[in-house]
């Protein structure tokens, strides 16, 4: 691959350099945090179904564990590269830090295409992966989770192999397990609720009564559905959601100015968050094109679908009424749009803060597993509320104090916490 091609890790480093500059970090800290603290490359021999043996390339990257055991997913991807894994591990460090949970950042993966593998072969890869790295991972060292093309099944295989190797029961070694196998309740709600917990705090700070607000949601998947649910429970009016229409291969926005009825809409929604257009019209929803959600005259925008949705073009369509953008999706806003937000004084709850409910719940899963005692859903969600609320206030406090953009404040606080931990440990 040519040198000048796009490289995610370089992007992560540039991002860090900018923050380091703002925090005025010393050179040693910069050198430490610019790169992962440990990086493992290993070969996984697998006996295939046809009797041949194939060698798969596996990775685990631990970016920084100064604040606690590393946490991060395991990806199965045919074009996996170490640079991608390094970048993702770095971002995990900042994400755990911004919500102030005692975890570091990690990521791992195997170069393989599950489309070319039987389940038995995938199981062998999972077990082979943990056999190679078992001494460097564990509930107190590094905790993997499902990621691209891996799921609860893969996690259980990995846990099982780890337990065989170590001779104990360690459900806390891995997260993303099904409830009943060490999984935590409340995971489905976590991300969507997390977005609204931070939104509630933001509105409070801005002196806006949430009951008098209206909001437009992009997407109608898991995150958006629970975000709408909690937002309406708090008394807000969700005027629209958008969703992907599989048949027509395009998105539509479903609008009801008086407020959508979530239960009613869920009744006509398929498993992928696709709403039945005809039935929605019957129920009195206006069905508009994909971009209608961003043009609504609302106080709040919640992009909870894809990246790059608010860009130089679409940002122009945002109503003057909009005061807050809560980023439920990863990277929904491009840098150009950020500039517009700053100019227009639109308050942004940045993605890795707003949607950190998921990773926080994974942390809870780990905690519950380690003590082998499981909380009720209410307990999980109330603890999630506490964490998200404090995380928001810490970021907001810094933004106000230093008069910086929320996204920058979030990064600054995250990096600073990690840098402090390294310093306290005497590493730098």
């Amino acid at each position: 691959m040519a040198d000048k091609s796009f490289n995610a890790f370089k992007m992560a480093q540039t991002q860090f350099d900018n923050v380091a500059e703002k925090l005025d970090l010393d050179q040693a800290t910069r050198d430490l945090l610019r790169n992962p603290i440990r990086e493992f490359h290993f070969s996984i021999p697998v006996k295939m179904d046809d009797g041949t043996v194939k060698i798969f390339q596996g990775f685990r990257v631990q970016h920084n564990d100064s604040r606690g055991p590393c946490k991060g997913g395991i990806r199965f991807h045919p074009q996996e590269t170490i640079d991608t894994v390094k970048a993702l591990a770095t971002w995990m460090t900042w994400k755990c830090s911004v919500v102030d949970i005692p975890l570091g950042g990690g990521k791992g993966g195997v170069i393989c295409d599950p489309h070319n593998l039987s389940m038995r072969e995938q199981e062998q890869i999972c077990r082979g992966w943990v056999r190679q790295i078992s001494r460097m991972v564990g509930p107190l060292l590094d905790v993997p989770a499902p990621d691209v093309m891996t799921n609860a099944q893969h996690m259980i295989w990995i846990m099982d192999e780890y337990e065989k190797l170590t001779g104990g029961k360690y459900p806390g070694f891995i997260t993303g397990k099904p409830v009943g196998m060490g999984g935590s309740l409340g995971r489905t709600e976590a991300t969507g609720f997390g977005v609204i917990y931070t939104l509630r705090e933001a509105l409070n700070e801005l002196g806006i009564d949430i009951k008098k607000t209206s909001a437009a949601f992009q997407g109608f998947g898991n995150v958006s559905q629970y975000a709408v649910k909690l937002y309406q429970e708090y008394g807000g009016t969700a005027v629209c959601v958008s969703c992907w229409d599989q048949k027509e291969s395009k998105s539509y926005t479903f609008i009801k100015k008086s407020g959508i009825d979530l239960e009613q809409l869920l009744g006509i929604t398929d498993k992928f968050g696709g709403i039945d257009k005809a039935k929605a019209k019957e129920l009195g929803y206006e069905v508009a094109d994909a971009e209608a959600w961003i043009q609504q005259e609302v106080d709040i925008l919640v992009p909870a679908a894809l990246e790059n949705q608010i860009n130089a073009e679409t940002v122009k369509k945002i109503s003057a009424k909009v005061k807050v953008v809560a980023e439920g999706a990863n990277g929904p806003t491009t840098p150009e749009a950020d500039e517009v937000f700053k100019k227009k004084n639109i308050f942004v709850i940045p993605d890795f803060l707003a949607n950190a409910g998921g990773v926080t719940c994974s942390y809870f899963e780990q905690v519950q597993c380690n003590m082998n005692y499981f909380w009720t859903k209410e307990e999980v969600l109330s603890k999630l509320d506490n964490i998200m609320t404090s995380a928001f206030h810490a970021v907001y406090g810094l933004a106000k104090q230093k008069k910086v953009y929320m996204r920058d404040a979030a990064y600054m606080i995250a990096v600073n916490r990690v840098a402090e931990a390294c310093k306290l440990r005497g590493w730098v």
Partner: protein, 1060 residues
């Protein structure tokens, strides 16, 4: 007894007569089956019964002569108003039956009796003959048993006892055996035998041809007495030269062979109507007690003759079938054949395929264990000629000439033909047969399938052209019978449908004498709630032409599985997906993540509603919520989605009210022997039939049933294309030799080529995403299915997008083919995606996938053509001109002075070729073969263009605010097919009111043209015009379709408006 006058009365009268005759036949039948009664008793009762079948029973009398006895109605008087029929046994007249009227009755067509009454009497006479034969045979077999008992008790020279018995009971056979023995002795060099033979053959010069000849009735020129004496002598000689054991063995063998003599006579006589053959088979079955001991050459000879009579003349078929279908197998078959009274028909292609497959698989062998308890649905057959007898019975022969009419006339008249046939009556013997079939098949729903001669000849290329209909088969016998005859008539009508006729015309098959057999099959399945359907069903192919991984080999096969009736697996259903499995490597799934698995799982199910007696498509979640607990083996069919995890459930924890259940067949695939079974079926059939096969199957949750089997080679749309070897090197664009499927894309006008080198050098992901977006735009602008996409690595790459253009299915759903190029980087060749991200979308929309490995030895890749031909990207999408280095849009006709790119793929050779060729024909894109003289398709576009011109010419620009009208797309490009739209662009400057008025005006045209197009082509659409309004601003900024106006490639064409 007046002759009815009024025509309606006449009709009623006729029908009453028919009922009487039928009733009479039933009673006769019943009497004749009482074989415990002495014949005399049976005859006496018959005399009372028969008059009831006649028009004037009160004055009707019967007389039966048999065995020098006469049986008459009480008070019998001789009459000249009579009809009679001979009673025959083994073709010999043994008696006579006569029916007469005692007083005068009106005459019809110079006869005192109705046409059907003649038939009735014939039938009765035949039945009597058969009963007599049966009783005779029983007597013989009783004597035989006594003799055998004698033998074992006395332990004498056994053969002598046998001979003695025969000499008393069956002299013909005795003489026959004697002659056989003479030959045998002669061949063994016994001199006395030579002498005997001379005497014997004095007046029979053709003695050599005797072996299977008729010895039941020896030459009449020699007296019976003489012949008996000769035989006696023969056995005396034999006793001296041969051991007792050998003589007995010989005698037994010859007796066996003799038993089959009549069978071979009946079968080998090509003039014999089917009924004779069926009788012979049944008869032989009875006398042999199911124990078929035929000599090997005789068995072979009979097999071939029977296969030819019932199935096919095709030598290849016979060659294979004769090794698997035995004479004894025909007995079961003929019990379920319905045929016209004196028919000569066959059973048709579909029946032949299934029957052969059943024979092959039922034969014990190494495959038996893996097959498990494979079953076959109970099936009745109607012979192919029944359709002709049906037509002539209703005086509808002229319908046969339908095929020579103009296609639009055929189409117009087709509905009438269907109604006509549905309102016609079936001949008595067919109705009777169907009634028996219904009794046999019980209350299970039925499927009425066509099984035509052409299907046999042409293989599956013809399948699907004729109808198959499902019947709920509920209600009273009468209702069921009506529904069944209705369905058969409708299936018959499909032979006169426009589509099959057009298809035949195109292939020069119009003059083939097409006849249609019918298969009436029970539907495999269970009652679940109000519905009836199989637990699952599907199709499977020996060869996998849609491989989603390089690890799948072609011979691993492919199966398309669906819950419920197999209809959704057989046809491509645009908005639903079957589950795909490659039986050779079942663990390699198309869909891996939970999201993919759910997205591409079947959402609907085809069922028979037993309440409404209709065929229905239901949403699976709704059906499960209603009656999931009754669904057999449901836990093996669905998976549960929970906590981002999809798993195969145990039967315990199923909650059908939740909407998190998806059809995956996970349990079926991993926890049952089903896949092994399927693979064994495919392998065994492919091996024994010496061709890859295509099967249909269904399961009731307990057993797997084979429903259909045919050679795969001829499956429509997947015919392998011959690869020409004489293409000049400068005309070759690319060649390929890995993971090739079958197919052909004849007329590619545009190529979108994403340069792998340049793409990998793009600086950031935003630019790569932009490439994806540009491809999406090109997809909507280039002519549908006339362009191909060629690009690096994995199209639709998610996550890391460096090695593949990030597109979704909707960004390329109009392409004809998706081509992935794996260029070597150092010593590393990137893995290709095989389209896995949207594999099932490709399959269902028939988009071809082809991987290219340009750096492989011996592979051609004309990069120069792709890179140096004029790139139209900046002209088509000026705003994306910056990407012209990376994305090349080539207008093939412009770059090659009017030629096109043609891609040929041949999986048998494992080769594919893309080369510059002269365009064949405008709409041949989906057809494999087309006669050069074919011009009919030419006018699809021509007519559309004429209509577009007419619309523009009629359009009042001032009234509607329209400044200009353009035509583009397939109508302009002369590529329109029978189902194409007419694409129009309207430069619009009017008001909202004008816009609405214009819309209505165009809609009128659109509906009219759709209607006309339907009668021309049979393609139904809700409108034929697809128009886009462009504003001044659009045109100025060249947004959306405005780019088409004045475009450099594929530009829209201006049409003159009214008053211009």
């Amino acid at each position: 007894m007046d002759k009815p006058q009024n025509s309606i009365d006449k009709l009623l009268h006729d029908m009453r007569e028919r009922a009487k005759e039928l009733n009479c036949l039933y009673q006769v039948e019943e009497l004749l089956t009482k074989t415990h009664l002495p014949l005399a008793e049976i005859f006496t009762q018959l005399i009372h019964t028969i008059p009831s079948g006649y028009q004037f029973p009160e004055i009707c009398q019967v007389r039966i002569e048999y065995d020098n006895q006469t049986y008459i109605s009480p008070g019998y008087i001789a009459s000249s108003r009579f009809q009679s029929a001979d009673i025959k046994v083994d073709d010999k007249v043994v008696g006579r039956i006569e029916v007469s009227y005692t007083s005068d009755v009106p005459q019809t067509e110079n006869s005192y009796f109705l046409k059907d009454e003649h038939k009735l009497l014939q039938t009765v006479a035949e039945r009597i003959g058969r009963t007599i034969l049966h009783l005779k045979l029983e007597q013989v077999s009783r004597e035989w048993e006594t003799a055998q008992k004698d033998l074992s008790e006395k332990n004498k020279k056994e053969w002598m006892v046998v001979i003695d018995l025969l000499r008393r009971t069956d002299q013909n056979l005795y003489i026959h055996l004697g002659r056989k023995m003479v030959y045998h002795l002669f061949w063994n060099g016994v001199m006395e035998a030579k002498e005997l033979l001379k005497t014997l053959s004095k007046d029979r010069n053709e003695a050599q041809s005797e072996i299977s000849d008729d010895m039941n009735r020896p030459s009449q020129r020699r007296s019976q007495h003489e012949l008996l004496a000769l035989s006696d002598e023969t056995f005396h000689i034999a006793a001296r030269y041969l051991t007792d054991k050998e003589i007995l063995g010989r005698i037994q063998k010859w007796i066996q062979e003799d038993k089959a003599g009549f069978l071979s006579r009946a079968i080998n006589n090509i003039d014999q109507p089917l009924v004779e053959i069926i009788n012979a088979i049944t008869h032989y079955h009875y006398i042999s007690g199911g124990n078929y001991e035929l000599s090997p050459p005789m068995e072979k000879g009979l097999r071939v003759s029977l296969i030819r009579r019932f199935f096919s003349d095709d030598l290849e078929f016979i060659n294979i079938a004769k090794n698997h279908i035995e004479v004894r197998h025909f007995y079961d078959l003929v019990q379920r054949i319905i045929y016209p009274a004196s028919g000569y028909g066959r059973l048709g292609g579909k029946s032949a395929g299934l029957f052969l497959a059943q024979r092959i698989l039922s034969k014990p062998g190494e495959h038996s264990a893996a097959l498990g308890d494979l079953k076959y649905p109970k099936t009745w057959y109607i012979t192919t000629d029944a359709i002709m007898s049906f037509l002539s019975y209703n005086n509808l022969e002229e319908v046969n000439e339908q095929k020579y009419k103009e296609i639009d006339q055929i189409r117009l008249e087709y509905q009438n033909v269907v109604q006509l046939l549905k309102n016609s009556h079936f001949p008595i013997e067919i109705v009777k047969g169907l009634s028996m079939a219904l009794d046999d098949l019980g209350d299970k729903p039925l499927i009425v399938r066509s099984s035509s001669l052409l299907e046999d000849r042409m293989g599956t290329a013809f399948s699907g052209k004729y109808k198959s209909l499902f019947l709920a088969n509920q209600g009273t016998k009468q209702e069921k019978l009506e529904a069944l005859t209705d369905a058969i008539a409708e299936v018959y009508a499909s032979i006169f449908g426009p589509d099959p006729i057009e298809y035949r015309a195109e292939r020069g098959l119009l003059d083939f004498h097409e006849e249609m057999g019918i298969m009436i099959q029970e539907v495999v399945g269970n009652k679940v709630g109000d519905y009836f359907f199989p637990a699952f069903a599907g199709v499977a192919f020996s060869n996998n032409e849609f491989r989603w991984s390089s690890r799948i080999k072609r011979e691993d096969g492919l199966s398309r599985l669906v819950p419920g009736l197999g209809t959704r697996a057989v046809d491509r259903v645009s908005d639903d997906y079957p589950v795909l499995i490659s039986p050779g490597i079942p663990n390699l799934r198309v869909n891996v993540t939970a999201e993919e698995t759910m997205r591409y799982s079947p959402k609907r199910i085809d069922v028979i509603n037993l309440k409404t007696c209709t065929f229905e498509t239901k949403e699976i979640p709704a059906l499960l919520a209603e009656s999931g607990h009754e669904y057999p083996g449901i836990e093996k069919i669905i998976s549960v989605y929970e906590d981002d995890h999809i798993y195969s459930p145990s039967a315990l924890n199923l909650d059908f009210s939740k909407r998190n259940l998806f059809v995956t067949f996970e349990g079926l695939i991993t926890r049952t022997p089903f896949i092994k079974q399927l693979q064994t079926i495919l392998k065994t059939l492919q091996e024994k039939m010496d061709t890859p096969v295509d099967i249909e199957f269904a399961s009731d949750g307990k057993n797997l049933y084979l429903l259909q089997c045919r050679p795969q080679a001829s499956t429509a749309g997947n015919v392998s294309s011959p690869i020409p070897k004489d293409i000049a090197p400068d005309r070759v664009i690319f060649t390929a030799n890995r993971y090739i499927s079958n197919g052909k894309i004849p007329d590619i006008t545009h190529v979108v080529y994403v340069d792998p080198e340049k793409y990998s050098q793009l600086e950031n992901s935003e630019e790569m995403l932009e490439v994806g977006r540009v491809v999406g735009k090109l997809n909507s602008l280039l002519p549908k299915r006339q362009f191909i996409l060629m690009g690096p690595g994995r199209w639709g790459s998610r996550g890391d997008i460096k090695l593949g253009v990030p597109v979704t299915y909707s960004d390329f759903n109009n392409t004809a083919a998706l081509i992935e190029i794996a260029r070597k980087k150092g010593n590393y060749v990137p893995e290709l995606s095989f389209g896995t991200h949207f594999f099932q979308d490709l399959v269902e929309s028939a988009i071809r996938y082809l991987p290219l490995y340009p750096d492989d030895p011996g592979i051609e890749f004309n990069e120069k053509f792709l890179l140096t031909s004029q790139n139209y990207l900046p002209d088509i999408l000026p705003e994306s001109a910056a990407l012209a280095d990376t994305i090349h849009v080539i207008d093939v006709p412009q770059a090659t002075s009017g030629k096109v790119l043609r891609v040929l793929m041949n999986a048998d050779l494992g080769e594919a070729l893309g080369f510059i060729a002269t365009p064949v024909s405008a709409s041949a894109a989906t057809e494999e073969t087309r006669e050069p003289s074919e011009t009919a398709s030419e006018d699809h576009w021509h007519w559309r263009l004429r209509m577009a011109e007419r619309i523009a010419n009629q359009l009042d620009g001032a009234r509607f605010g329209v400044k200009a009208v353009y035509v583009f797309g397939s109508t302009k490009n002369a590529t329109a097919g029978p189902g194409s739209d007419i694409d129009l662009l309207l430069h619009f400057q009017g008001s909202a009111a004008q816009k609405q008025e214009l819309g209505l005006w165009l809609e009128g045209w659109s509906l009219c043209l759709a209607e006309i197009n339907f009668s021309r082509t049979g393609y139904q659409s809700s409108g034929l015009i697809d128009y886009h309004l462009l504003t001044d601003e659009d045109i100025e900024k060249k947004t959306s379709y405005a780019v088409k106006i004045g475009a450099v490639t594929d530009a829209a064409r201006l049409l003159p408006l009214k008053n211009q």
